[in-house]
Symmetry: C2
Subunit: 320 residues, 2 copies
């Protein structure tokens, strides 16, 4: 019988689940709004229902369940130390879910799950040394080295949003200064845009208009839209964000010397020119020896990467 696993992408807004076979094909998928207020027990119940609906009547053998969640996860035990979007602290969710679904369960960080997906079935296929960088509200990453996902000493490797690229730069939410995501992540771009509009309302007229006159409602997406409409201020803001993104990618390429650099996430999807910008910038600014074999790609699986990757991790872990 064909082997498959259920992949779950557990977010603060929605829970997506899919039945995925060994070739990365999604055989069926479902999603529901996350019952954040209900806490871990309500979410557990939601996932149990998704799994039982998905698993019902399919001619495949389900080896287990993989779950990606934004937060700090303990390797092995799958203890969720902290999941900010769910407001969970120290929830032994892997054990609870395994017992509720009567299936082996493995929980990992959401970006790590996406990286599994892109590595095995997306833009990273066939490559054993790669870095996936996801630029959304924040910036996260997953790293594959010598054909293995890099977990690190306390399972937090890949915090690429917190590379220092401008030590005299603005403060980051982490408390440090000049982090990559404070300059090139969605929240950083929005913050810089609000500041720029405040400094120069005339130049910021277009952005302010897109935000319905409310400066505090300016988002990175509005900056991208204004730029596409030819707005100069938005163009400058994205120029600076692009410079910071290139600087961060140069650091990664010089330190890791990957074969592939894969870029995805909402900001990249909204501004696909950033991939060309990074490709060119890294070629110009990183060491020639470190870029001689480097390929820069756009992520391929989009929103499905998380469920496909989580399922792939489960197949890898439980298909014995």
């Amino acid at each position: 019988m064909q082997l498959a696993a259920v992949g779950v992408d557990l977010g603060g807004t929605k829970i997506a689940a899919a039945l995925v076979d060994e070739n990365g094909n999604m055989l069926q998928s479902l999603r529901v709004a996350t019952d954040v207020d209900g806490g871990p027990s309500a979410v557990l119940q939601q996932i149990r229902e998704l799994v039982s609906n998905i698993a019902h009547g399919r001619g495949v053998k389900i080896v287990g369940l993989g779950v990606g969640v934004a937060g700090q996860i303990e390797a092995g035990s799958g203890m969720v130390h902290f999941a900010p979007n769910l407001d969970w602290h120290e929830v032994p969710f892997q054990a609870q879910l395994s017992s509720a679904c009567r299936l082996p369960v493995i929980i990992t960080n959401d970006v790590r799950a996406i990286t599994w997906g892109e590595w095995l079935f997306g833009a990273g296929r066939g490559c054993n040394d790669l870095i996936c960088v996801f630029v959304g509200t924040g910036i996260g990453g997953g790293i594959v080295v010598n054909g293995k996902i890099l977990n690190g000493c306390s399972n937090t490797a890949g915090e690429i949003g917190h590379l220092t690229v401008d030590l005299h730069g603005p403060r980051c939410t982490c408390g440090n200064y000049g982090c990559l995501e404070a300059l090139a992540g969605g929240w950083g771009i929005a913050r810089q845009a609000r500041q720029a509009v405040s400094d120069n309302p005339a130049a910021g007229a277009k952005l302010l208009q897109l935000a319905g006159g409310e400066q505090d409602k300016i988002t990175a997406r509005m900056v991208a839209d204004a730029h596409k409409g030819g707005d100069a201020l938005a163009g400058n803001l994205l120029q600076e964000a692009g410079e910071a993104l290139v600087a961060g990618m140069v650091s990664l390429v010089n330190a890791f010397n990957p074969c592939r650099l894969i870029l995805g996430g909402g900001v990249i999807e909204g501004l696909s020119e950033l991939v060309d910008r990074v490709r060119l910038g890294v070629r110009q600014q990183a060491l020639a020896a470190a870029t001689s074999k480097l390929e820069v790609h756009t992520a391929r699986l989009g929103d499905d990467a998380g469920v496909i990757g989580a399922a792939a991790l489960a197949l890898q872990s439980f298909d014995k």
Copy 2:
């Protein structure tokens, strides 16, 4: 019979060689001035003599020869693509040396060799995820991930001196701006000192005096010496270099989440307080989850790390 290997540290000034056993003990060592002008054939002859003197009459079985050299080396073939201190380009030195010495030979980058030494027999002993950072004239690094040295896609991983830490910073010799070594490497510190003395000769009187009145002869060591004598300008220069070093280490810790960070090299040896500075700075500025298990150590093997590490690599490679 006890197994051993010969380790060679091939530099632009000297060639050091040592017979090293499986426990990292140096049984004998020799060194000669490098005959750079004689080119690869003269250096080949020098190493052959060192090896034959070292190997003579010892009651050990020599499994092979490991060589560390500053430059770009091709993995496997040991082709020296470029060795700036020797002015070598595309020298198939591993094959030549193996044939001349009638021993298996493995050539690696010098910093990689030092990392092997510190990892197996120095401050990295027993640790499977670590980063060695060597701050000398430039800054280089070696990375151990999942119990393996990280080579990267084109064998250049670990170019830590070229992490971008200040994207608006000064130009680096690599052509990029704001690289770690342009701010915290020996040459960077010297350049900033010369500029500072030029900008303010009164504040720079002490440094100028140490350089015999010649601004262009100011070195990083003089800055360290002036600082120890209480010179304020030197103190400021080192403060800034320390900030940049911390920023680079924060990037590494957030990206790799190593268990140990090991600092060595001439600048660290001359300013041992930098290790405390990094320990504290990384704790304060990197993500808490990424530093929860991190230890920061000073390298232990000093000048011997290169020969010990090169020998260890040979033992690892040829002891079958």
